[in-house]
Each structure stands twice: as C-alpha cells, then as structure tokens.
C-alpha cells in the first residue's frame, strides 16, 4: 500500500539528514575524499534536504540556503579538477547545467554566476560524456546568465535539434523561453513557461525523468528558469504550485525593458 506523500517524504528527509552527517564527515576527510568521490553525494544530499524542507514545511530559507550550499559543494569538482586533482571527468561535463538550474532556483545570483563561470570549455570531455542537449542547454544558460550572447543563436539551434531526440521531446519549452529572453519578448517567455509546465507533467509519468522524485512536487528547474527571467528583468508571473511565487526573486530592474 502506498504511503501518503507527507509520511513518505518525512521518512526520506530523515534518511537524508542521517546520510548528511555521514557524508559530510567523509567529504571533510582529505584522505577518504582524495578523489573527490564524496563531493557529488554531499551536494546531492544537500539539494535533496533543501527541496524536501520546502515540500514538507514550506521552509523558504532552508530551501534557498540548502541550494546555495549544494552549489558551492558541487563547484569543488571544478576547482579541484582545475587544480589537477584526479576528479572524475563526468563531474565537470556540461551536464552541470542541472546544478546551475538549482543554483538559479536558490535565488542567489552571485553563486549561480560563480558556478556558471566554472562551466564549459572542456570540449573533449563534453564530446565524450554529454548529449547535444546538455551541451546546448549548458552553454545557452551560461551565455544568457553571463550576458555573453555572441553565439546564442547557434546554441539555440543546437537546442532545437537536441529536442528532436525522442528522449528530450518534453523539453521544447526551454528554447522558447530562451528565445523570449534573447528577443525580449515577455509573451514568448510566458508561452514557454506554459509549455514547460505541461511537459513537466509528462516527465513525471512512470519511466520518465522526474517520476517518483521531489520534482513531482516542486519544479526546481522551472523555479530556476523563472528566476533567470526575473534576473534578466522580465516580470514573469506563474500561477502553479510547482513553481511557488514565494521562491521567485524580485524582478531585477537593471536589465530588460
């Protein structure tokens, strides 16, 4: 018999908190963590706790601080890899766009920018580890966040191409939002959000990306995208419990129209 969501997530949160103490100790042990294998698991645990704290207790502060801390821990992959330490190559691939979206969801744009600047520029690794979708998504997010739109159209074209892949068919809303930001078109952005929310529901079905995990209750990527839009000065309004308005940052007045 299925547990009710509150009981289920309460138990999982309790497990994650227990795991956190353990993995934090391993992570902080320079010998045990010499190869950086506990960086990813600590970051994942922190991210999980942050999201579950919001789902169960609507704790905005824990959500934001948890995601910020998770992003900072995840950034160790890059700093240690850049320092020549034996960090797994897959940890510094462009798949880190997912961590960047979490960072954006935290609302701390400085941390998001810090993480974004660490991403990219490792073509060989990206070729070996990343799908075209991850490459296009990562570089597009990075370009928009850092306001470096030189090759943005090429990346958006790549993203369109990648979304033709069957596995990525439910992510076609992202290029719509990105184009809305690039073209400064709020209507297009709103249209993009309605698409990603519909497609998110499809991705929450059995066998799909977000099935059975916290994203069924809280669309962290969507929150990240909304914060990105607001950071870029677009007053995007979303009335969906998956993207609660209390988690969105105020519209930044220095950009956009």
């Amino acid at each position: 018999m299925k547990k009710d969501p509150v009981t289920r997530w309460s138990e999982i949160l309790k497990d994650f908190k227990e795991d956190y103490l353990m993995v934090r100790a391993w992570h902080d042990d320079p010998v045990k963590n010499a190869k950086g294998i506990y960086i990813g698991s600590l970051a994942d645990t922190l991210q999980g706790i942050a999201v579950m704290e919001y789902i169960l207790h609507q704790d905005v502060m824990k959500f934001k601080t948890g995601l910020v801390e998770a992003t900072k821990v995840a950034s160790e992959h890059f700093t240690r890899f850049n320092a020549g330490e034996p960090i797994d190559e897959s940890q510094v691939s462009m798949l880190c766009y997912q961590e960047l979206l979490d960072a954006l969801a935290s609302g701390d744009m400085e941390v998001a920018l810090m993480f974004s600047r660490l991403m990219g520029g490792r073509e060989e690794i990206e070729r070996e580890h990343d799908h075209l979708f991850a490459i296009a998504m990562g570089y597009t997010l990075k370009a928009i966040l850092e306001d470096k739109l030189g090759h943005i159209n090429q990346r958006l074209y790549q993203l369109d191409q990648a979304c033709m892949d069957r596995e990525y068919r439910n992510f076609t809303g992202y290029p719509v939002i990105f184009r809305g930001i690039v073209n400064k078109n709020l209507n297009k952005i709103s249209e993009g959000f309605s698409i990603i929310l519909k497609q998110h529901a499809k991705e929450c079905k059995p066998g799909r990306m977000f099935y059975g995990i916290t994203d069924e209750y809280l669309y962290t990527w969507g929150i990240g995208m909304a914060n990105l839009c607001r950071y870029k000065g677009f007053d995007v309004q979303i009335s969906d419990p998956l993207i609660p308005s209390e988690l969105l940052i105020p519209v930044f007045k220095g950009n956009g129209e």
């Binding site: 990343d130 799908h131 066998g207 059975g212």
Partner: protein, 493 residues
C-alpha cells in the same frame, strides 16, 4: 472338448475367436464367438482373427470396468500367448481375450487389434495391464493429470475404466454432470456475458484487496478481471469463443516446458480465476515465486514467438534444439535479427544467474520501464560485511556496429555508468517510495567507494558472443580494472 459350440450355427458357422473388433475400439469390439466356457479355442495362436460378418456388435459403453475384471490375469496370457491356468484367458500377439465374460456368453477381446493399431503395442499393453494390476509406477495424480489433459492413450482409458469399476457412485455422478452440461450448455454469447460478469467481480475483488495485506496481488487479480471482461465482451459480441491473455500465457508456458497441453492450460487458468474468490491468500506463494521469474518467462515466450514467426524448417529446428539454459543464452543472444529488448532481457537474467552462482546477491535497482542501474551485485562475507560490489550495465546491442564506448547512452542523467550518472541514479533510488529500491540507493550511497571501483559493461561482441569490459576512468584513479578472469567466476561464453 473339440465339439462345435452350441451357438455355432447362429454365429454364422465360425469358430470362436474369429471376430475382429473395429479398429481402435477399446470397448472390446464385437463379442467374439468362442468356445463354450472353459474350452480352449481350436484356432492357431498365431493367427485366429478373421473378419466377423455374421453378427452386429452389441455395445455397452458403461460396463467396461466390469468386463475388465480379469484383465490383470490376462496379462500372463498376453505375454505367453497361452491360456491362463486359472482363468483360461487367451491372448493373440498381445491381444487380450477373456472367454469367461460375465455378460457375453461368447467372451470378448479386452484390447484392440494389435496389427491394425499402431499405438497399442506390446509395451503399452503391458503398461496398461500393469496399471490395472497396481504394479505401474504411475501415481493416481499423474494419471489424473494426463486424463485431465486430454490424454486418450489406452492406459489412461483403461485406468479411467478401472476407476469406474471401483467408484461407481463417482462415475454415475460424473456421467450425470456431463449429461447436465450437455443439456444446459449455454450459447457462446451467453458464456461471453457470464465471463464478463465474472471479470467485473474479479475487478471488485482486486479493488477490495488493495487495502489489505494482500495489496501486491490486487493488480494481478484486477488485471485478470480486466482480461476476462475484455475477452467476455469479445466473445459475446462476435459469438465466437475467444481466449484470455492469461490462457495464452499459461498455454505458451505449457507448450514451452512440455508440462501440460491446452486442456491443462484451460484448467490452470480456471483455477487462477477462481482462487481469488475462494482463498486469495493461496495466490501469495505463487505470486512471490513467480515475481522474479515473470520477466524472464515473458522474454523467453516473446523470443520464442519471434523465432517461430521468423524461422521455419531446419533453421527453427536448429534454434529450438538448444541444450541447457547456460548455452541457451548463447543461442538466444545470437538469434539473428531478434529485437534487442528480448535478447537483452534474456541475457540479463542469465548474467544475473551467473553472478548468483558465484556468491553474489542481486539488489533491486531498476524502475518500471527498465530505468536505473541494470545490475547491482553484492558479495557478503560470513559476518554480513560487504566484500564486493559490482555495478553492471548490460547491452544486447552488438559491438559489430558500435564501438564499445558508444554502447553507453548519454541520458538525461548523464552518460550511463559514469560517476555522475551513478550519483544521480543513487539519489533517485534514495528518493524512491519502493522500499527495495530505496534500500539499494542507501546501500550504494554508503558503499559508493566500492561501487564506483567495480563498473562492468557486458555486451555482445563482433563474434556474437557476450563479452565483459571494465569501465574505469581515463585517469585510472577512480577505479580498478575488473577482469572476470581475476574474479572467482568466469563468463564462459
């Protein structure tokens, strides 16, 4: 003693024992004309049978048991070809003949014509009579099972008749039931409607079970209900009999294993449908036992269907004549053109068996639809400590067309078997509401150092055989090479 029988003239002027019963007539055929009681027939033992044209056969179907009363004694006659010392029964070329039959003055044959019948040879006669004599090795259960499966071999028929003699009340009851069935047999459409109603009831039972400790069975029972409803509606609509999917599966299993036939499948299906209403708990052990095997069976059945649909004659014969499962894997993995999901599934289960044979325990690690880590194998020490953890990705795709690294897909959670992909999958497992998946996630989380060091890809090589490859990082620092040769087991493909 050599005088003509009293009824010699009436019987057409022939000597006793000259009547040929109709071929395959196990009812004994026409009463042969014999010598008077106790008198040996004068015909040659080698060939006494001549066509009987004189009298029509008198048939009484239900008294065979009575007629077979001395059949056991007739065995010795059958084998020796001489009259039995006590009963004076005779046999001709293993054809059993009883001269002192109670009902027929002239006596009668107990077995069918040995020359014209190919399925009643010496061996079966001996077996059949051994059955009557209680000397057969066949148990009541096995004979009943054969009978229920529609086996009409002589020994089964004789066994049934023997039962009739010993259990007349039961026989009468059975006859009455059969007659009632014949008389009351409803039309096909009515049966379809009845099946639909039964199916609806099953769905109701399944729904009710959902809130009980038998909840795991609820989808099974509900599924059987839906199956019955759909099939029932089909039958009622078309007026032609349709079989349920459950029947097809059970029948296919019987056909593949050779354990039972279509009739047996029908009985099993009926039993499975009735059990939830009578005692749902009885299904639980069956469910538990079959749970882990279902995918394997489904894969094998699907593969078998594929092969049968695409091969014929010698090609089919060479494919199905596969010896045991271990080498069957090789055969199945190399069925040309078979869909990868089938060969993959078959290969996966065989590889799983291989690990298990070598002391590894497989943890549940795949979600519905096959997502997740293909194989998580753990070896525990005597104190329950973790000695080894191996993560396995299994590919049925051939390396003939793809270089090995490209067999690993770049998914939304990263390239399969990469550290990042494993991290993300472990997190998904930890968040699962399935207790087994969650436990696997937490196990891998706690033992990630070992798990990340043992990553193996098993794939079909250019030669069509299975190969294994250790997956370690380029730096070589995050993993150690795992070769099966270094392990206490070998992949002998």
């Amino acid at each position: 003693m050599s005088s003509r029988p009293e009824n010699y003239e009436r019987l057409g002027g022939q000597f006793p024992g000259t009547t040929v019963p109709k071929p395959l007539d196990l009812d004994g055929g026409s009463p042969p004309k014999t010598a008077p009681m106790g008198e040996r027939p004068k015909t040659s033992p080698s060939r006494t049978v001549k066509p009987d044209t004189a009298t029509p056969r008198v048939s009484e179907e239900l008294d065979l048991g009575q007629r077979f009363g001395r059949a056991a004694h007739a065995l010795s006659s059958a084998v020796s070809g001489e009259a039995h010392a006590e009963t004076d029964n005779h046999a001709e070329s293993f054809r059993v003949y009883e001269p002192e039959h109670q009902r027929f003055f002239a006596g009668r044959f107990l077995s069918q014509e040995p020359i014209s019948s190919s399925d009643f040879q010496r061996q079966s006669a001996v077996r059949a009579l051994g059955e009557l004599d209680g000397t057969s090795q066949s148990s009541f259960g096995s004979m009943a099972w054969r009978a229920l499966n529609g086996d009409r071999s002589p020994e089964v028929i004789m066994w049934q008749q023997q039962n009739r003699r010993h259990m007349p009340l039961l026989a009468q009851g059975s006859d009455a039931l059969n007659r009632a069935q014949e008389q009351l047999r409803p039309g096909t459409r009515s049966l379809g409607l009845l099946q639909t109603v039964g199916g609806v009831a099953e769905i109701g039972i399944g729904t009710a079970m959902a809130s009980t400790p038998l909840a795991p069975l609820a989808p099974v029972v509900g599924g059987m209900g839906i199956d019955n409803v759909v099939t029932g509606i089909q039958t009622a609509w078309t007026g032609e009999h349709h079989s349920t999917s459950l029947y097809h599966v059970v029948n296919e299993l019987g056909r593949t294993t050779g354990l039972y036939g279509p009739q047996g499948a029908s009985y099993i299906e009926m039993g499975l449908n009735i059990t939830p209403a009578v005692n749902p708990r009885a299904l639980m052990p069956l469910y538990n036992a079959s749970r882990l095997r279902v995918q394997e069976v489904v894969n094998n059945v699907q593969l078998s269907r594929y092969v049968r649909g695409n091969y014929s004659g010698e090609a089919w014969s060479s494919l199905v004549n596969t010896p045991p499962l271990s080498s069957g894997l090789r055969q199945k993995m190399t069925v040309p053109g078979a869909p990868a999901r089938l060969t993959g599934g078959v290969g996966e289960f065989n590889i799983s068996k291989l690990f298990q044979q070598n002391g590894y325990t497989r943890l549940t690690s795949q979600f519905a639809g096959g997502q997740g880590i293909d194989g998580v194998f753990v070896k525990y020490g005597s104190q329950g400590e973790v000695l080894d953890v191996v993560l396995v990705e299994m590919k049925a795709s051939t390396a003939k067309y793809h270089p090995v690294p490209s067999l690993l897909k770049e998914t939304l959670t990263g390239q399969q078997m990469s550290t990042k992909w494993i991290n993300k999958n472990v997190k998904i497992l930890r968040e699962s509401d399935n207790i087994q998946l969650k436990e696997t996630g937490r196990f891998l989380f706690k033992n990630q150092e070992q798990a990340l060091q043992n990553r193996v890809l098993i794939f079909r090589g250019k030669d069509g055989q299975l190969h294994s490859k250790s997956l370690i990082d380029k730096s070589g620092s995050n993993g150690r090479a795992v070769e099966f040769a270094e392990k206490p087991f070998k992949l002998a493909f």
